[in-house]
Amino acid sequence: MTEPVLATKGISKSFGALTASKDISIDLRPGEIHALIGPNGAGKSTLIKQIAGGLRPDTGRVLFRGEDVTGLAAYQRARRGLGRTFQISTLAMEDTVLQNAVLGALGAAGNPYRIVGRALAGGALRDRAEAALVRVGLAEKRMQRTSDLSHGQRRQLEVAVALTLSPKAFVMDEPMAGLGAAGSKALTGFLDGLRAEAPILLVEHDMDAVFALADRISVLVYGEVIATGTVDVIRKNPEVRRAYLGEEA
């Protein structure tokens, strides 16, 4: 079997009496979209934070491209090629679209401590940033202030910033949240093409998008993975239907 790009090995996390993650082992293989679903409060965001480095698990390990990254901070994981988008936008709202994209390129390939020269001057970093904006369809908006973008455009920019890192894997936390039907459909098409570049661990509530995109689905309930499998297997799993999908009906 192909070596996973990203994997968790029995990670657990508790906050006092509340167990947010319980012995979770999931993996992300090259070229796949692995969706993580579960009802609100199931512990999806906590798991994502542990994978991306915002939280440290109490026990267990996180492996990225064969390396144990459990002890590494979020910025160190990003430097190793872990691209992340957030459920609630964390973009620099006062900056322009281009500045946000250049920031990503800077983190990936530049020297952020350089005090001489203009950050936005032409060159490899700006080319990388502009290319990412073209890919998500925001090239025309490059000089707009990020706070002036629509919700959907901010989502696109989140993805563009992640793209500037040329990631080896993406971790996306509800990228479709707040998008209309058209926006959701467009992003679904975009992510579908992206998987060949780098696999995606996708947390998503939009079940149409999940069923359209996912190669595999893991279902998280009360901090525990109750099932992992292909779309068909998950659809037919009675425990999943009862615990999660049943709520949708």
């Binding site: 910025y75 160190q76 964390t90 920031l103 800077l106 983190g107 936005l120 890192l165």
Partner: protein
């Protein structure tokens, strides 16, 4: 040229013309006021790097201002008494040579900022404010209890330190020197704002999580900003002490930190010329209102309240509007 740039150019023009006029009509007092404004503006330029670009509310910048002042005071007092600062293991003598004094002030303030920043930047919000304040007060009480250099009475220097080719005792010449340093610091600050470091620091102010997500460590950015800021404020402290030919623990007091922060907010936080406008306004208010009432700080407080409530971008924000996005 946008409105803000035109306003900045007018400020520089006023900073050149008004003291020259005062020199021509033989009113040295106004030159001294302008010198005080230029030096305080320099301290504000330093603070604005952490406050404006970094979003860090440091209430301990008086520590760097005072370190710069004492660097000048200690070096110059040893030079005037002909007593070396250190005899062994090697000889260190005092000096009245400004460039060396500035270098010592910058390095000493930078080292202090490195230590204070490394400890305080691990916290945020109110904790950061309190820790920086505590460090400032530590230096204040240390200076008070340091009898070798005047204790709470401070330290007087009889003759202003020298700079090659200038007679620094002539007010307009010393002012010119301070103005050139201020303009260089403003140029440096503008360069910083447009650099990769400035972009990342500014983004870290808005969202530390965002910066981390692209592989940059916010702590390191902030520490670097804190050190650069401390160095500039240290230099202003050395000039301030030279202007007064006197250094005292007051330079370390929390009121000094507060005053620097107040005029930066008045002028416009994160705006290049915010500290300049703020310092000029502060000195004008001190001069005009101070002549009317000894409680002039009440009016200053009122003005600050109005600015904070109704003009978030300070005076520059009122005049020039929202900062333009630059390419």
């Amino acid at each position: 040229m946008n409105r803000e740039q035109m306003f900045n150019a007018a400020m520089i023009g006023a900073l050149v013309i008004v003291p020259l006029w005062a020199h021509l009509v033989d009113e040295p007092f106004y030159i001294t006021l302008a010198t005080r404004a230029a030096i305080l503006a320099l301290a504000g330029v330093g603070l604005n790097i952490v406050l404006g670009m970094g979003g860090l509310i440091s209430l301990g910048h008086a520590a760097f201002f005072g370190i710069g002042g004492y660097a000048m005071g200690i070096l110059a007092s040893h030079a005037q008494s002909y007593e070396p600062i250190l005899m062994s293991p090697f000889l260190i003598e005092g000096t009245k040579f400004m460039p060396v004094i500035w270098l010592v002030a910058i390095v000493a303030a930078g080292l202090a900022a490195l230590v204070i920043g490394a400890l305080s930047l691990r916290t945020s919000g109110a904790y950061f404010i309190m820790i920086t304040l505590a460090f400032g007060q530590m230096f204040f009480y240390f200076a008070i209890s340091w009898p070798s250099y005047g204790g709470e009475d401070g330290l007087s220097i009889y003759v202003r330190n020298g700079f090659p080719g200038l007679n620094t005792l002539v007010p307009i010449q010393f002012y010119g020197l301070c103005l050139v340093i201020l303009i260089l610091a403003l140029g440096f600050s503008a360069m910083l704002a447009r650099s990769a470091f400035g972009l990342a620091l500014n983004a870290a102010r808005q969202s530390a999580e965002r910066v981390e997500t692209v592989g940059i460590q916010p702590f390191r950015l902030r520490l670097m900003a804190f050190v650069i800021s401390g160095m500039i404020t240290g230099l202003s402290g050395a000039l301030f002490a030279d202007l007064n030919r006197f250094v005292s623990p007051t330079m370390f007091s929390w009121q000094t930190s507060g005053e620097i922060m107040i005029f930066v907010i008045l002028g416009g936080v994160a705006r290049l010329f915010g500290p300049v406008v703020g310092a000029v306004l502060f000195i004008l208010l001190e001069h005009v209102l101070g002549g009317l009432s000894e409680f002039w700080h009440v009016y200053l407080g009122l003005l600050l309240l109005i600015i904070v409530l109704f003009a978030r971008g300070g005076i520059i924000g009122l005049i020039a509007g929202r900062e333009a996005a630059h390419d």
